[in-house]
């Protein structure tokens, strides 16, 4: 269905470029910081309302791309400007446009230097992020994927903490290293599949197993760094710790999801046989993320670093669900990304609220905060419980769905060990997440009020409370009534599973691959 005609204008293009357009206008015409803040807020709110029809007039019944746009771009290389969304990518666009508003509001008073540049960086970042999720051409995707690095680099590098240089370079190198391999993989496919960068054409092209194998690895490195998966995760705690609050929000809320989205958009449908082949590998890395990273998170003394590690652990659930090829696990993984976008964002905002008062992220510097900031304590309790995935919070829905999908995955295909035990191992997160989250909460919020600096902290002001309200509403709403979001995914996820479980190999090759698989199993 081509809804361009229904709506009368190219909604995706507008959603992508409105923030940049706004940024250019602000750059050209506005000088006063206050005006810049309000104008940026106006642009981000306008973008949000522009993306809203994507959801409201979305057709849940089909897995086809919707709101499609097509223009030839670099014809010599068959690069096209092709946009479109399905039930997998659409929720991320809304998540981006919503979190950008919160980022801009949260930076209102805290950013005092180079306000204009800061706001511009966020608006341009929004363009690139929406672009990533809306692209249906691999080069266009790659363009936005790489372009995203520049504003993010600036946000951490200019407005970050005292070790920001180390953090930015680390962030940059990791992602750069990954992206290079992705580019190689894209080019390899381009020539193999008859010179096309069209993602849907690539999905349909029958790559043989060797191609799939190497292309999958190329993608894997790029996406695993972004997710991030153990052992390429160490850039994230540093980047989070040094980033300004809004930078952490967007980093945890959207950037991490790009990696997992890449798996869904590229690895699974384009390399289904390789994806199947690598399942045990992904399972091991995901379980390491859940157990190892949770234990590391528990021992952190810096709040932001703790939440960063917690994000990695939660993303372990996402990667696990992604590679289980069951409806529940995949939907749980996607839902988990959205839910984590709210919960992690909110927790970083909570730390931001504390940081703005005390200028330290050390857990030990606090204690007894509830005595002076009861409203804040209640809000943070809510999000901590959401992080622990208590029922009633959105994270519970995703956790349970991933576990259910994993538990039942061996009905579909053989694994080295029964996927039941994989689910049981992953469920240990139920205990570990409570340990690290609530232990931190106890040390920061509870206790006697003895520190003079803490005693002087005022409770949240209206602006701070305001950006928590939508997050509270969303976390609880999606926790008790997740159907509106799940309904959007059903058709697209079913289609993705169909793609990911049907071999692209001719019968003979399929047999060989099956033997290889058994070979791998035997070892």
């Amino acid at each position: 269905m081509d809804l361009n005609n229904v709506l009368g204008f190219p909604i995706l293009t507008w959603s992508i470029f409105l923030p940049t357009l706004g940024a250019i206008l602000i750059w050209l015409f506005l000088k006063n910081d206050t005006a810049v803040r309000w104008a940026s807020l106006a642009v981000s709110v306008a973008t949000f309302f522009l993306t809203l029809p994507l959801w409201l007039s979305f057709d849940n019944s089909t897995a086809h791309m919707q709101f499609e746009e097509f223009h030839p771009w670099i014809e010599a290389f068959h690069v096209n400007y092709r946009l479109g969304v399905d039930g997998i990518s659409m929720p991320f666009i809304l998540l981006t446009s919503m979190l950008t508003i919160i980022c801009i509001v949260s930076a209102w008073d805290c950013i005092k230097t180079r306000v204009k540049e800061y706001m511009l960086a966020f608006l341009i970042l929004e363009t690139t992020l929406i672009g990533v999720f809306a692209s249906l051409d691999a080069i266009l995707f790659y363009f936005f994927w790489e372009a995203m690095l520049i504003p993010m680099y600036l946000i951490i590098g200019i407005w970050g903490g005292k070790d920001r240089v180390y953090a930015t370079i680390k962030f940059f190198l990791y992602t750069l290293g990954g992206s290079v391999l992705m580019l190689v993989a894209l080019l390899a496919m381009y020539f193999k599949a008859g010179q096309t960068f069209d993602i849907q054409a690539l999905m349909a092209y029958p790559f043989d197993f060797d191609w799939q194998f190497w292309v999958w690895i190329g993608f894997f490195v790029a996406f695993a760094v972004k997710v991030p998966m153990w052992p390429v995760h160490t850039w994230l705690p540093d980047a989070h710790t040094e980033a300004p609050t809004a930078g952490s929000v967007i980093l945890a809320g959207i950037l991490l999801k790009m990696g997992a989205y890449g798996f869904l958009r590229f690895s699974l449908p384009i390399c289904p046989d390789a994806s199947q082949y690598f399942v045990p590998f992904i399972v091991v890395l995901s379980l390491i993320a859940v157990v190892y990273i949770s234990l590391v998170a528990m021992m952190q003394t810096d709040m932001k670093r703790l939440i960063a590690y917690s994000s990695i652990a939660h993303m372990g659930f996402v990667t696990l669900g992604t590679f289980m090829f069951t409806q529940q696990a995949l939907e749980g993984a996607i839902f988990g990304m959205i839910s984590h976008g709210f919960v992690a964002a909110a927790l970083f905002l909570c730390v931001g609220v504390l940081y703005d008062r005390m200028h330290t992220r050390e857990i030990g510097a606090y204690g007894g905060v509830v005595g002076v900031m009861p409203v804040f304590a209640a809000v943070m309790m809510l999000f901590c419980m959401a992080n622990v995935a208590l029922p009633g919070a959105s994270a519970f829905v995703s956790e349970v769905m991933v576990l259910a999908g994993t538990f039942s995955a061996d009905q579909l295909y053989e694994m080295v060990i029964s996927s039941k035990w994989v689910a049981v191992a992953a469920a240990i997160s139920v205990v570990l997440s409570a340990c690290y989250t609530l232990w931190m909460y106890k040390r920061v919020i509870f206790g006697d009020l003895v520190k003079a600096e803490v005693k002087a902290m005022p409770d949240m002001n209206m602006r701070e409370f305001a950006f928590f309200v939508p997050l509270i509403v969303l976390v609880i709403w999606l926790g008790i009534y997740p159907l509106p979001v799940l309904d959007v995914m059903h058709a697209s996820v079913a289609n993705l599973i169909e793609q990911a479980t049907s071999s692209k190999l001719p019968a003979a090759n399929a047999l060989a691959a099956a033997e290889m698989l058994q070979h791998a199993v035997a070892h």
Binding site: L173, L295, A427, A434, K442
Partner: protein, 657 residues
């Protein structure tokens, strides 16, 4: 069919009250806060009683209201199932809750967290009702986790106290260990049954058994039903404070006393027993799981009773008693006498809540002191508390005609009737010796508090007085329950009456005829309740009380001599069998060490130092550092280089291809 609106109102009223008082408590006066919450819970209680009478008349309800989660075959509805089992739980929960609400008005008066407290306990009532009224495992789990959350918040209610915060965290984490098991069980249920709905799951158990699914767990083969039941039971152990997950329950006494009565004695901690009884159609098909339930219950019943013998904190004595009595309930369920287990749950709810509230009344009078060594002769000052606590104590000890006698006696008889090998024999020994110890520790605490010598510090003495009516009235109400609930249950409701095969619970509980201890009792002939003079438990209870009387009222130097004579045993019991120390050394510290090691050695030393700083990346980083020092716009260079690179590579490939 029951009225849907009425049923929905029962949990909805406390929820709405809790939200109003929770969100706007800062603006409400104390009186308004407690009126809203107490009022709504009282209406809930009245409606529950109404529903109960209808259920007695044969009415029931079953239905779904909306879909919570849905993905392909994974369907999680939210619905209700009202039958006899639910109805008993509903009246127990709401009546005890209403009493505790009234009591709290007096107990928490003037506390800065007054409305917060009321919001929590009303929220708790809502959660507990969801837990018992749900018609599928996920609705149960929602309530299960929600009561855990409220319990956490209430244990840490006085958040300035380090010990309270620690106890809250401990309670939550230990409960999560149980929840882990519960969640695994629920996943397995979905895997094997394809649904979470009680009715459908229970209906398909025989078919699943017939298919002979087995699981291998580290070389141990078990049937799917055994796996499910054991996993669910791990959840029950966490919530109901069974060994080895009992360690949180005594520490939960850090919370205000009304919630010790409501949550940590009468209702929440019994959720595990309720769940096992609810799942009786599954447990009945697994001998292994039933044996595990009996074993864990018996160990807990016995071990916690021994610890209770020597504790000096009035609330901790009662807390260990709660663990022990929960063990009794599990033993009953394990020997397939589910109805007896639930019956004991009900009577226990009344007399144990009363015991806690009376203890709270005492603590209130002695200005927060909880050490029974610093009390004594209090009967002179607080007669109503004295008498109500005596009733509760006699009920707990199992003296006829008080409530505990009826249910406990039936448990012991059921254990004796059911043949279960060495586990059955051990359980019989445990529950029988437990009766003696229960009577002893209860009356040790009672005599030290109300009799013995007057050891109240002079400062406190002037303050000693009977508690106000708002506290004593709930005590009297609960005393009626502690007096009459047992006789009413056996004689009035035919709960767990061996002489009536069907009994009160009808088909809400499922027992296979060949293991039904009540049927065995009916066949082999058992003694009527009036023949208690000929039963061992009665004399053991009397003996326990007598010994306590001798040691703490007559020969008051005896306890000291005993303690000295058996010093190692006394120390061992006083330190609660060293469970906390064991966990500290084997779990907490190793986990922290491991976490630190993975962080310092894994992330920082190996990945960061070894891989990043050492390898190629390190040299690039060093290069970057130089670039940075020249302060040119490095990013723009990068961006430029990237674009050039992309197109350069493309050009090269095109030319080559």
């Amino acid at each position: 069919m029951l009225n849907t609106t009425e049923l929905l109102a029962i949990p909805a009223l406390p929820l709405i009250a809790s939200l109003i008082v929770g969100l706007f408590g800062w603006a409400l006066k104390e009186k308004l806060s407690h009126s809203i919450t107490t009022g709504s819970v009282m209406v809930s209680a009245a409606l529950s009683v109404h529903v109960f009478t209808q259920v007695l008349g044969g009415a029931s309800f079953y239905g779904n209201f909306w879909t919570w989660m849905l993905s392909d075959t994974f369907v999680v509805p939210v619905g209700m199932m009202i039958d006899q089992l639910t109805a008993v739980m509903m009246i127990t929960v709401t009546i005890v809750s209403a009493c505790v609400h009234i009591y709290t008005i007096g107990y928490m008066h003037g506390d800065p967290g007054y409305s917060r407290f009321f919001s929590y306990i009303s929220g708790f009532t809502f959660s507990m009702l969801v837990l018992v009224m749900g018609n599928n495992f996920f609705t149960l789990f929602f309530g299960w986790e929600a009561v855990g959350l409220v319990s956490y918040l209430l244990i840490g209610f006085w958040f300035r106290r380090e010990s309270a915060n620690f106890a809250a965290l401990k309670a939550f984490i230990v409960n999560r260990v149980g929840d882990f098991g519960f969640l695994v069980g629920v996943l397995a249920i979905w895997y094997y049954f394809g649904t979470f709905d009680y009715r459908e799951v229970f209906a398909h158990v025989p078919a699943l058994m017939a298919q002979g699914h087995t699981l291998h767990f580290f070389g141990w083969e078990m049937t799917a039903i055994t796996f499910i039941c054991l996993a669910l039971f791990v959840g029950a152990m966490g919530k109901s404070g069974q060994v080895p997950l009992h360690v949180w329950l005594p520490d939960s006494m850090e919370g205000p006393t009304p919630i010790s009565a409501l949550i940590h004695a009468a209702t929440m901690v019994t959720a595990g027993v309720f769940m096992v009884a609810r799942c009786s159609p599954m447990f009945e098909y697994s001998e292994t799981a039933l044996a595990a339930v009996v074993l864990v219950g018996a160990i807990t019943a016995w071990m916690c009773a021994t610890i209770g013998l020597v504790q000096n904190d009035i609330k901790r004595v009662i807390a260990y008693s709660t663990c022990s009595q929960l063990g009794y309930m599990f033993v009953a369920c394990g020997v397939s006498a589910y109805s007896v287990g639930i019956f004991h749950l009900m009577t226990h709810a009344y007399f144990k809540a009363l015991l806690f509230l009376a203890a709270g009344s005492v603590i209130h009078a002695v200005l927060g002191e909880q050490d029974i060594r610093k009390m004594g002769q209090l009967r002179k000052y607080m007669p109503i508390t004295y008498i109500t606590m005596l009733i509760a104590g006699l009920a707990l000890a199992g003296i006829p005609p008080f409530a505990g006698f009826w249910s406990k006696d039936l448990i012991i008889e059921s254990v004796a009737a059911r043949e279960m090998g060495w586990i059955g024999q051990f359980a019989y020994f445990a529950v029988l010796s437990g009766v003696f110890m229960t009577a002893f520790y209860t009356f040790r605490m009672f005599f030290l508090t109300f009799h013995n010598s007057d050891r109240v510090p002079a400062k406190t003495k002037s303050h000693l007085h009977e508690s106000p009516k708002v506290i004593t009235v709930p005590l009297i109400l609960l005393a009626i329950g502690a007096l009459g609930a047992g006789a009413w249950g056996v004689l009035g409701l035919d709960i767990a009456n061996p002489e009536i095969a069907e009994g009160f619970f009808g088909n809400s509980l499922f027992v296979m005829d060949q293991h039904n201890p009540l049927l065995i009792l009916a066949e082999e002939g058992h003694h009527g309740w009036y023949q208690f003079l000929g039963s061992a438990p009665f004399w053991l209870a009397v003996g326990g009380i007598g010994l306590a009387f001798a040691m703490y009222c007559k020969e008051t130097d005896m306890p000291g001599k005993f303690a000295n004579a058996a010093k190692p045993v006394h120390t061992f019991l006083l330190n609660k069998w060293y469970w906390d120390e064991l966990y500290e050394r084997t779990l907490m510290r190793p986990a922290q060490c491991l976490g630190n090691m993975l962080w310092q050695k894994g992330d920082l030393a190996m990945i960061d130092k070894g891989f990043i700083h050492g390898g190629i990346v390190g040299s690039v980083l060093a290069g970057m550092e130089r670039v940075r020092s020249s302060q040119t716009g490095f990013v723009y260079h990068y961006a430029f280089a990237m674009v050039i690179g992309v197109f350069g590579a493309l050009t090269y490939l095109v030319l080559k291809g």
